[in-house]
Structure formats: structure tokens, C-alpha cells
């Protein structure tokens, strides 16, 4: 009885959450709500005018498709590469530490720095191009920058280490005795991966996919610097930027931002819904 009333009394320690809540309210909830309302109050026309304009102007609605075309394959590629590499490096060795360091370095570089480097290396007069032509391996013009491929490479370089680090922590979290047990039961290396590691990694894979996707979907600098921002890599964040800072139409920019957020949300919700159907318990087999 007394325990119950004690539990109903608010715990003063809860006040410690206040700064975080206030911060969230001021810097996330309020601006988000503000933008949401703003997107429905266009300078001219009715409350849906911005959205109607977005979905009727090909120059605008295409950006959603372009962004998906960029971010989905890049995310699948990054996660798909990170999984086997992280799996191979699951055992602690000196070699693992070196490779991990090497693979993680790009995360410390900004997208702008990566773009700079790419222009020098992958550009039409870049090292790669000159090298290939010098050896007459490929004599035609090599165009790996200022187009769709350029942005894919840039997103790969900046996104992969992130996926790799996440996957590495998921892989090393799986009790290696499970694979040993599977081996004694007749499972070869592939079967161990297929029946033990992969199912236990799927939840982590889903989370990694979501985070990597959201990151790739909001691509902006590399789309401008190593892409073709007027056409093939005119991504949605660019459309929002133009509306806000070239046309000074904040209402329209908010609407674009809302559509962008909604698109990301759809993918994340689908992936997390799939994740719900998977086993999500601890990745170790029993006590101790």
C-alpha cells in the first residue's frame, strides 16, 4: 500500500530529464511544428497549394525519384559490403585493427574534403584517368565526376565506414560459441553464416540500413560538388535549398522539407516493420 503510494508520488529525480526535454522542445519539436504549419500557409493559393505545386511541377517531383535512385542503391551497396567485411573481421587480430582503422578513416573526413579529393583523382584530367590512358587500358573519356556516378562514389566513401562500424559491433556481439556449436552439428562455414550469423544480424542490419538510408537521402554537398545539380543529381534537399535561399519562399521550402521527411519516414517504417517480424532477443545461447 505504502509502496504503491510512494510509486505514485512524482520522483524529484525526474526533473533531471527537464533540460533534455526543454532542449528537444525548443530545438526540434517547435521548429518542426513551425515548418509543418508554414508548409500549409503558402504566400498565395489555398492551404495545399505548395504540395499541389510540388507534385505537378516535374522539375520538383522528379527530385524525390532522383533522391531515391541515389540513396537506395548506395545504402544497399554500403550495407551489403559492410556485412561481409565486418563478418570477416569478427575475430580480434592485429590485422583486424589495421583494416578497421583503414576502413574507418573516411568517416573523419568531411564530404567536402572527399569531393575535393575525388575531383583531383577521378576527374577528367585526374590521376586515375591519366593513369588509365597512359597504359592505354581505356582511351575514351572517363567521366566519374559531375554526374550520377560521382555522387554514388562520394556517398559510398562517406557512408561505408559508418555502416561498417555499426555492423562490426553487431557481428562481434554474437557469441562465437554458437557458430562452433553449429560446426559440431555439421554446419560448414557458409551454413554457419546462413543459419546462425545472418538471422541474428538481421535486426542490426535493419537499423544500419535505416540510419545509412536517412543519411544518404539527405545528401546535399556531394550532389552539388561532384554531381550534376542541374539535372541527374538534382536531389530533394537541393530543391528545398533553392526554394528557401533563391526564391525566398520559406513556405514552399518547408513543404519540400516535409515531403523529404515523409519519404524517409516511409522507408524507415517499412524496414522497422519488417524487423518486428524477426527474432530480436540476445545473441548468446544460454547462461554464462
Amino acid at each position: 500500500m505504502s509502496a504503491l503510494s510512494a510509486r505514485l508520488k512524482p520522483d524529484p529525480a525526474l526533473l533531471l530529464v527537464a533540460p533534455a526535454v526543454i532542449f528537444l522542445l525548443l530545438f526540434f519539436i517547435y521548429p518542426f511544428g513551425y515548418g509543418f504549419v508554414l508548409s500549409f500557409t503558402p504566400a498565395e493559393g489555398d492551404w495545399l497549394a505548395n504540395y499541389r505545386k510540388f507534385f505537378s511541377d516535374e522539375h520538383l517531383w522528379r527530385t524525390v525519384i532522383i533522391t531515391f535512385q541515389l540513396s537506395l542503391p548506395v545504402t544497399i551497396l554500403n550495407v551489403g559490403l559492410a556485412l561481409p567485411i565486418a563478418f570477416q573481421l569478427r575475430r580480434k587480430t592485429a590485422y583486424q585493427r589495421w583494416v578497421t582503422t583503414l576502413l574507418v578513416i573516411p568517416i573523419t573526413l568531411g564530404t567536402v574534403l572527399i569531393a575535393e579529393g575525388m575531383l583531383t583523382y577521378f576527374g577528367p584530367r585526374g590521376w586515375l584517368s591519366q593513369f588509365l590512358q597512359l597504359l592505354h587500358i581505356y582511351d575514351g573519356p572517363i567521366r566519374l565526376t559531375h554526374n550520377f556516378i560521382g555522387v554514388v562514389i562520394s556517398l559510398g566513401i562517406s557512408g561505408f565506414p559508418f555502416c561498417f562500424l555499426l555492423m562490426l559491433s553487431y557481428v562481434t556481439g554474437i557469441d562465437p560459441t554458437l557458430a562452433r556449436a553449429a560446426a559440431t552439428l555439421g554446419a560448414g562455414p557458409f551454413a554457419q553464416f546462413r543459419y546462425i550469423y545472418l538471422p541474428l544480424l538481421m535486426p542490426g542490419l535493419a537499423i544500419t540500413f535505416c540510419l545509412a538510408f536517412v543519411q544518404a537521402f539527405s545528401v546535399f554537398p556531394s550532389a552539388v560538388l561532384v554531381g550534376a545539380p542541374s539535372g541527374p543529381t538534382r536531389v530533394i534537399s537541393l530543391a528545398a535549398y533553392e526554394a528557401a535561399f533563391e526564391q525566398y519562399d520559406y513556405s514552399m521550402a518547408s513543404a519540400v522539407a516535409m515531403i523529404m521527411g515523409f519519404s524517409q519516414l516511409v522507408v524507415v517504417v517499412i524496414v522497422l516493420a519488417l524487423r518486428r517480424s524477426l527474432y530480436r532477443g540476445p545473441a548468446s545461447g544460454g547462461k554464462g
Binding site: 556449436a181 552439428l185 555439421g186 554446419a187 532477443g281 540476445p282 545461447g285 544460454g286
Partner: protein, 367 residues
Amino acid sequence: MQTAEFAAMNSNFQELRLASVSRHFENPSGQRIAALHELTLTIKRGEFICLLGPSGCGKTTALNCIAGLLPVTGGTISLDERRIDLLPPEKRGFGMVFQNYALFPHMTVRKNVAFGLMMRGTKSDEMASRVARAFRLVQLTGHEDKLPGQLSGGQQQRVAIARAIVIEPPLLLMDEPLSNLDAKLRLEMRAEIRRIHRELDRTTIYVTHDQDEALSLADRIVVMKDGLVQQVAGPEEVYAEPSNIHVARFMGYRNVLELEVGARNGIAVTLEGSGLDLQGTAKQELSGPRASVAIRPEDLSVGAGPNAIRGRVENVEYGGHDSLADVKTAGGVLLHARTGARVAVGDEVSLTITPERVLVYPAEGAA
């Protein structure tokens, strides 16, 4: 094709031979250390072997080498005439029960048990009947569709055993399977393991650090220390006649004294020192002037008889059926005696022991 391969593997064998099996590793400063040194042992079909020793003695290393989970760095392992130490674990087909059970947490208990059969490509109707039989054997029928996390420790342990035996392995390996269970459950599961062994007649190698477990389960016990085999013998012999002072210490000979060797007549030895004068039996060749004497607390009794030792009771631990008394002699030697007699702290008592139960080994420093 896969089925045929495994079927060949499961063909009955007569002997598992370990010949000088060693496992070395390099420590951080580059030295080669033997976790297991030249283990030579022949195991007959149907035998229950216990590898017994303190932690770090190499018993789990030996088991992992047999299972194929650790490569050997020397020696050979063969089933009859076929050498197997170079095969990966999945090609050996030995069932293994792990210390932490290593049940697949994302699979139902049924799928866990069926896993080995699935890997062998067993037909689904045969698989179903064999899995059901395994569940009956470990008395877990009715729990098939739960996840391992929903079972108690003892039940998980049974699943681990079922998973290992359902593949009908020629050899069943168990790595301290009872160490995570509470005392009562451990006794029950011990009887279960013994019953399953009797019913299936599978050759079993069982690793443990618990001498009671080894004594109650094994046909033969392999006592190990620091990667070396100390004694290979039946439970009675290991219990009554430890081959050296290390085995004696590990098998519960709590009183180990270092005394002067006096008169000798064959294996009958007189020992002196610290005010004691004991008649003992040599178990190894004695070379030096001093010897280690091992006496089990159970072998000392209160009363008159040979080898009378007078002392004062310092402490008594009541143990129900009997008590453990710490007795200090005039010469300052502390002896542990397990006795049914009622003794109290401060009592002057006389202890006695037959010379056959005073085991004499070379002094530890000299050995």
C-alpha cells in the same frame, strides 16, 4: 551426397586413439606454451571417460582438439585406422554439449534439436521421429515450440544434450555441462546423463573440475594438471590410490605433510618429523630423505589404533552425517579429520589411521 558422407562417418568405431596430442600457443612475449602436452589415450567404444582437473589444466583444450574446434599442434587423433585430426569439426560429426549450452537463441527448441539432422539432409518424416525420440529421452516433450530463452537452466541443458545426441554421434563430448546448474539440479542431471549414456551406449568424453562428478559418472578418469596427464584409471583407483601428490591433493587428500623418511621395508615406510611417528605406504619410488604424506580426512578416525596421533581440537565444522574437525598436534601440525564421533573445540583427542591409508610420495620439491 551429404547424407552418405555423414553416414560413413557414423559407422561404428572400435577405438578412438589420441597419440601425443599437443596444443601449443604463443604467449604475448613470444614463448611457446603447451596448453596440452602429449596426451596419449585409447578410448574404447561405449566408454565414459572423464577429463578431470583444475581450471587451466588443459582438459577443455583436449576436448576442443578432439571436436576439431582447436587445431592440434602435434600428435594425431584417429578413429580406428582413419586419421581425423585434420578434418574440420563439421566433418567429424561428434556431438558436443557446451558449458554455456550454446543453444541457437533465434530458433525454437525443436529447430535447435533438428539442426544437426537438417545439416545432414535427413528426410522430414525421419527427422520428426528422431527429434521426438530425443525429446522423450531428455524428458522435454511439450516444450518443443518454445525459444531457448523461455526455458530454465536445467531444461536448456537437456535441449543441449538432445541436440547433440539426435545426430547419433559416434562420440559425445561434454564440456562441464553441469557447472551452471544449482547443486540439486546438478545431482539430478548427473543421473540423467548416466541414464542416457546407458540407454544409448555412446562413447562419451566428459570434462569436469568436480571430482564427485567424475567419480560418479566415469568408467575411467583422466586426471590432468598443467597440460599433462597425471593418472588414467578407474574411479576407485583414482580415489584410493592417486598416482602422485598432485592427484592426491586434487582428489580430496586434504592433509599433505612433508616428513623425514626413516626406516623402509619394501613399500612400508616409517616417517618422522614435527613430533609425529607414522607408518605409511609408498606409492612412488622414494629417493630423497624427505617425503610428502597424503591423508584423506575420511581415513582418520578418533580412538585408539595404529599410528596414534594426539592433538587438540581447534575447530569443528558440523556436516550433518559427520563433522570435520581440525586437530592440532603438540608439534604444531594441523590435521583435518572427518569423524562421526562427537568432538568439541578444546577436546584432547587421539587420531588413528591404518598404514595402508597413509600414502607416501616423493617430497614435492624433489619430484
